[in-house]
């Protein structure tokens, strides 16, 4: 684990407008002939807005899968109920833990950047440590999901066995693919941190995405547990 002390990362001002460039702000009218200086100059960096937009799209995708499941189950006499592989509950703990470690990492990095007050020396010395832990837990989660799929397959339950299994595989694989996106985001954050070019908004966006993956998984688990 990296413990080297290095220079605090440069925090790029997130597209703060200067000299008339960049963000207009949300209510940023300029009456002609009046003083420009009294303008509200700030609007959120695009990464903060963008992540919510992205999460909205992901929400719609899983909403579509959910409604497909409900409609398909509603009219079906062939629905086969089955017990979820127990390893899923362990995976749930892992992904919750990863959110906790990520939040620790985020706060420590914020302290390291000078964005937050307080913080301990240990955290300042190794800002990336908790990110690595999160990354590890994320990979562990995907490995755990893979174990669940293998277990089901070993029992003879493939994607085409019954539509309930089809939905199980579709939902969990779709979630896992999105988790890979989150892992990619974490790797990017770590890389930028090491190069000292990490932006606060990148870190926050990656964290929000990751936490969302956790919440999405809790939702999916509940859905699968209730319906399958």
């Amino acid at each position: 684990m990296a413990t080297t002390v290095h220079e605090p990362p440069k925090i790029e001002l997130d597209h703060l407008p200067s000299q008339g460039s960049g963000n207009g702000g949300r209510r940023n009218l300029v009456p002609a002939g009046e003083d420009l200086r009294r303008l509200k100059d700030y609007s959120p960096p695009p990464a903060s807005t963008g992540i919510w937009v992205g999460l909205a799209a992901i929400t719609m995708t899983f909403a579509a899968f959910t409604s497909a499941l409900i409609v398909r189950q509603g009219g079906a006499a062939d629905w086969h109920h089955f017990t979820l592989p127990p390893v899923l509950y362990l995976n749930t703990l892992v992904i919750i833990a990863s959110s906790v470690t990520l939040e620790i990492a985020r706060r420590r990095i914020a302290t390291f950047m000078g964005g937050l007050k307080g913080g301990d020396q240990d955290g300042v010395a190794s800002p990336a440590r908790w990110l690595y832990v999160t990354l590890f837990l994320g990979l562990l989660f995907v490995a755990g999901q893979t174990f669940a799929w293998m277990q089901l397959r070993a029992q003879g339950f493939g994607i085409a066995t019954n539509v309930s299994y089809s939905f199980f595989y579709v939902l969990t694989v779709a979630h896992a693919l999105h988790v890979f996106g989150g892992l990619g985001g974490l790797v990017r954050v770590i890389g930028k941190l090491h190069k000292s070019v990490l932006r606060r908004s990148t870190l926050d966006a990656a964290s929000r995405y990751w936490h969302f993956m956790g919440v999405l998984w809790l939702y999916l688990l509940l859905l699968l547990w209730m319906r399958l």
Binding site: Q19, S43, M60, V163, S166, V170
Partner: protein, 594 residues
């Protein structure tokens, strides 16, 4: 204040050919790439429609060379019924996805949204580049289905289950053809989601100083509203396509019912829901109609205002109406399913918002007409096409009133009446919006003017031609002519064949007009007149205050500051008949936003 160059250097001006013209991060290049793709797609789609029309009007004639397009779809150059359906499916898919979505939204939006908001680029240029190249791949995956297996799918652009999900038992192209179709569309969805992400964040976060939301031009609003629809609609179509692909390749039973017997063979699927596909598809499909048309509403308003030399009666009401269209578009999708066996109460529930959605559409039209009334409109190719758009939008919209009512729709469903309706209101109208935008913005996009005379010839031929094609469709539909028939052999259809012959001639005539446009486009690109200045139409929005064509970061050294509402024309006391948004001139019209 930090150095502005740090911001401008989000990505510097590219130097290599590949970065400049191929894998470009510049939204303007990406916009042009989208336009080129849409142009190619439109040409292919148009040629497919010619082949279909020749077959429908003059079925007994062979079309020389047709066998080259298909291995077994046209033996002796005469089309088989299956091949007709394959061409029809590809015509619909290519036109709806790769022309009507790509050109007005992705092409013009990419080029002009950042400029009109006063941004240097989209906030996520890599996503933007990916968005185009993913769409590009999606297009070729779709076109590839012509050349593999037994050709493209024949299930229509809506790909209704169970036909789309039963594999090659359903006919030529229903195996690999459907898989390629669904893959192509799923890829296309990814491209549009990435595009929408950029459009939304550009509008919300990248506006220049002084650019409040209400100071955005109507085009920017239209693209913003469209991207909100795109974000939610394509995110639903993609999972639907994934489930469809799985029914093919993984043997699942999402959409195929139990005990389905095709060609004396019982299919191995069990318990699937055929209606599920329709629900998922139309939840996307209806907003898609508005994704195609709302950018046109913006472009037409923008073009008309500039040529009327006065603003619309109400800027805000136009924006709210477009927003209402977008919101309602999610509540009406069931009107595509009136005859699907859905509960009649659901039909009623979907019929009501369908009638309600005509209110914002009517408000938009009334604002246009009221604003045009008494104005001294400058007649040019762009403004003619904008007027043509209004005409098509009204004509196609009126037939919507009839179709919105389940009792009437039961008779008209799946007839040429429906085909005429959606071609006028969504197809031709949206195309006219694209043409209006092209003639209007061409000088800014490439630095040359298009030929006006050819443009006017193009307009009149297209306008007359389109009505000659699609008005008779309504008559055919009322006479009971079912859509998707490749030949008319029944007694009640035979006497309609002369009408079909007339439509075919009109289609070839209208198609010829599009070749004039293509010539004009290519010729003007290289030989067109160079515009006298950066603002040849005397417009007010930001795209006219920058150089022609705009520099890499859109505005050069000095980022714009906005002082005015977007459409300040004929303001009393102003030095000219228009005040540009960037003009610090302290003159305001009484209705300017405070």
């Amino acid at each position: 204040m930090h150095d502005m160059s740090a911001h401008a250097a989000q990505h510097g001006a590219p130097t290599s050919f590949i970065r400049k013209h191929v894998f470009s991060l510049d939204h303007k290049v990406i916009g042009k790439q989208y336009y080129a793709l849409a142009l190619l797609a439109a040409l292919i789609g148009m040629v497919l429609s010619w082949i279909m029309r020749i077959h429908l009007g003059f079925g007994s004639y062979a079309i020389p060379g047709l066998h080259l397009l298909s291995k077994n779809g046209a033996p002796g150059d005469v089309m088989t019924p299956e091949y007709y359906l394959q061409l029809m499916t590809m015509h619909g898919t290519i036109m709806v996805f790769f022309v009507l979505t790509t050109a007005p939204f992705a092409a013009f939006g990419n080029f002009f949204l950042p400029i009109q908001t006063g941004a240097e680029d989209m906030p996520f240029p890599h996503f933007n580049m990916m968005s185009f190249w993913v769409t590009f791949v999606g297009f070729w995956v779709l076109v590839a289905s012509f050349f593999v297996g037994d050709g493209p799918t024949l299930g229509g652009w809506t790909q209704y289950a169970p036909l789309s999900a039963i594999g090659s038992a359903g006919g030529p192209g229903e195996g690999l053809g459907v898989v390629l179709w669904a893959t192509s569309i799923a890829i296309f969805c990814i491209g549009q989601l990435l595009g929408s992400l950029n459009f939304i964040t550009t509008t919300l976060d990248m506006r220049c100083r002084g650019m409040s939301l209400m100071r955005l031009p109507l085009t920017a609003w239209a693209w913003f509203i469209t991207s909100l629809m795109g974000l939610t609609a394509f995110a639903v179509l993609m999972p639907a396509c994934i489930l469809l692909i799985l029914d093919h390749v993984a043997g699942t039973s999402f959409f195929v019912a139990s005990n389905l017997v095709i060609n004396d063979q019982m299919l191995p699927h069990s318990g699937g829901s055929t209606l599920l596909w329709q629900h998922l598809f139309w939840f996307f499909g209806h907003p898609e109609v508005y994704i195609a048309i709302v950018p046109g509403l913006g472009i037409v308003s923008h073009v008309l205002i500039t040529n009327m030399r006065r603003p619309m009666l109400s800027h805000r009401v136009l924006i709210y109406s477009m927003g209402a269209l977008a919101t309602l578009s999610y509540m009406v999708y069931g009107h595509h399913m009136f005859v699907s066996g859905m509960n009649p109460v659901s039909s009623l529930a979907f019929s009501f918002p369908t009638l309600v959605i005509t209110i914002p559409s009517t408000i938009v039209v009334l604002i246009w007409l009221g604003s045009l009334y008494g104005s001294k409109l400058r007649i040019n190719a762009a403004s003619l096409f904008a007027l043509g758009f209004i005409s098509m939008f009204i004509s196609g919209g009126v037939s919507g009133f009839f179709l919105a009512q389940p009792s009437i729709d039961i008779m008209l469903h799946a007839t040429y009446f429906v085909v005429g309706h959606f071609h006028l209101v969504m197809g031709v109208a949206a195309m006219f919006g694209i043409f209006a935008g092209t003639y209007f913005w061409f000088p800014k996009m490439v630095g040359r003017m298009m030929n006006e005379t050819l443009g006017k010839v193009h307009f009149w031929m297209s306008f007359v031609g389109a009505y000659c094609i699609f008005m008779p469709f309504h008559y055919l539909g009322i006479a009971g002519n079912v859509r998707r028939y490749q030949a008319f052999t029944d007694d009640y259809l035979i006497h309609l064949i002369p009408v079909h012959k007339f439509i075919t001639v009109a289609a070839l005539f209208t198609g010829f007009a599009q070749l004039i446009f293509l010539y004009n486009l290519i010729h003007s690109r290289f030989k067109g007149v160079i515009p006298p200045n950066d603002n040849p139409w005397e417009g007010t929005s930001l795209e006219w205050s920058t150089a022609t064509p705009p520099p890499h970061n859109n505005f050069g050294d000095k980022m714009p500051v906005v002082y005015h509402d977007p459409y300040q024309y004929s303001v009393e006391g102003a030095s000219a008949d228009y005040i540009m948004q960037t003009s610090p001139e302290n003159v305001h019209s009484p209705d300017e936003e405070k």
